[in-house]
Symmetry: C2
């Protein structure tokens, strides 16, 4: 061990005492992935937070990731689970401390779109989100390929479009983030048998985002880029569920894509 | 809701596919706190990670924060708990993906220094950490002021110096990070009765760091700065335990102070 040293900070430090909404200098893999997204529109509309903005993160087990269901308060670490939702939340509450955003995780393991729909009153509308983020789709495919569900990518597309049409009517002022369903081939649950049909799920999510979202988060591209840095097993244990590194990667991509 | 927009990324993006160990542009409160630390030494020695570096985060409940004790593997979200340790870990595994660091949390709720000592063989030496981070001290004070413990700041100082002397002998090549015990006055458990004696705990930790650490993380200064942005209750529920925002604040400060 060596004697103590103090680290002199970079001279570019911001002096104001207010916490600016400065973007993290994200790892280059996230950067490369977001850049790959062609801008279909010239506007750079990002997500805006107001004071005490309610941010709702919705989806399946990737979002859920062990959250304590009985804890319903916002910004509770236990209620946010162990995945990307928790890591987005902690970044938001720090980086936007002056606005004191309120983040909820209402992901439910195993969900497909129609199951979101069935609980949407309680788990979306009643929370009156200012910002709504959804990651759904892998189960619409996975449960079907495993023979537990008779849906198809077309059913997913139709269900999702209908859900967002209804959501837009009920929450006209809510900003929407649609996240791309992703899969990492060659790890446990995900095999070549998933392709090319899984790409139809991804395309459907993109179509839903084109019509209803302010921001689309290209998770598949992000993971594809990540594979250039570390192998698939570094990011996921089963090809579907992001692990610690994968979750942080997703959170960083979400924050970058939303401008938050 | 509005039509889809894609966010064009900043032109300063790094183009290489390797993940650089680029520092986050941390919120200005962390920055201000780290800058306040006078550099006693000219060197800017930071923490260096080697391939598969073992990083051990030790301490009390602030570190522990509900980790699943039965899960002993590295980089497991459940084993890392809900606090700053988990948020340091996810940042490290993403930002240093090419090095694949292995992070363990062995914080134990309620611990004082002598209790670390009593379990140090299993919970430190046996893990052979390349990087060892310790946050301990609040209980050495809190349990005493509550009448459950008869130690004093001098006992804490003596215990800690002895622990680190032994640690240095057993782990001569391990890089050490000593974190400053902190308290946020006026919230629940922390009152004016804590002062000025609690500052003796802080001073003792700093003295231990001067002799044995590569990096000292000034958590008290960080929280003091944070109060300029949001009130105490935003960062902690009881003045001792950082909540979601407080944990993220601590993690960012740690990452900045260590250069990781």
């Amino acid at each position: 061990m060596k004697s103590l040293s103090r680290r002199a900070f970079l001279s570019t430090a911001v002096r104001s005492t207010a916490v600016t909404a400065a973007a993290f200098m994200i790892p280059s893999i996230v950067d490369a992935a977001i850049k790959k997204e062609k801008s279909a529109h010239k506007s750079e509309k990002k997500i805006q937070l107001k004071q005490n903005a309610v941010v709702l993160l919705q989806g399946d087990s990737i979002t859920d990731y062990g959250r304590r269901r009985e804890v319903t308060t916002f910004n509770s670490p236990e209620a946010l689970g162990y995945g990307y939702a928790s890591r987005i939340a902690s970044a938001l509450v720090l980086n936007h401390a002056a606005l004191a955003p309120r983040i909820y995780n209402r992901g439910v393991s195993g969900d497909k779109v129609y199951q979101l729909r069935d609980r949407w009153q309680t788990d979306c509308y009643d929370l009156q989100p200012d910002v709504l983020s959804i990651l759904i789709g892998v189960n619409d495919f996975w449960h079907a390929i495993d023979g537990h569900y008779d849906g198809t990518p077309e059913v997913y597309r139709r269900d999702y479009l209908a859900l967002m049409e209804q959501t837009r009517n009920k929450l006209p002022n809510t900003q929407v983030i649609i996240c791309e369903p992703y899969a990492i081939n060659g790890v446990k649950a995900v095999t070549d048998a998933w392709y090319p049909q899984f790409d139809e799920i991804r395309a459907a999510a993109r179509e839903v985002a084109d019509q209803y979202a302010d921001v689309f988060v290209p998770f598949q591209t992000v993971f594809d880029q990540a594979l250039e840095v570390a192998p698939a097993s570094y990011w996921t244990g089963d090809g579907v569920h992001a692990n610690l590194a994968g979750s942080q990667l997703m959170a960083q991509a979400w924050l970058e894509a939303t401008g938050l």
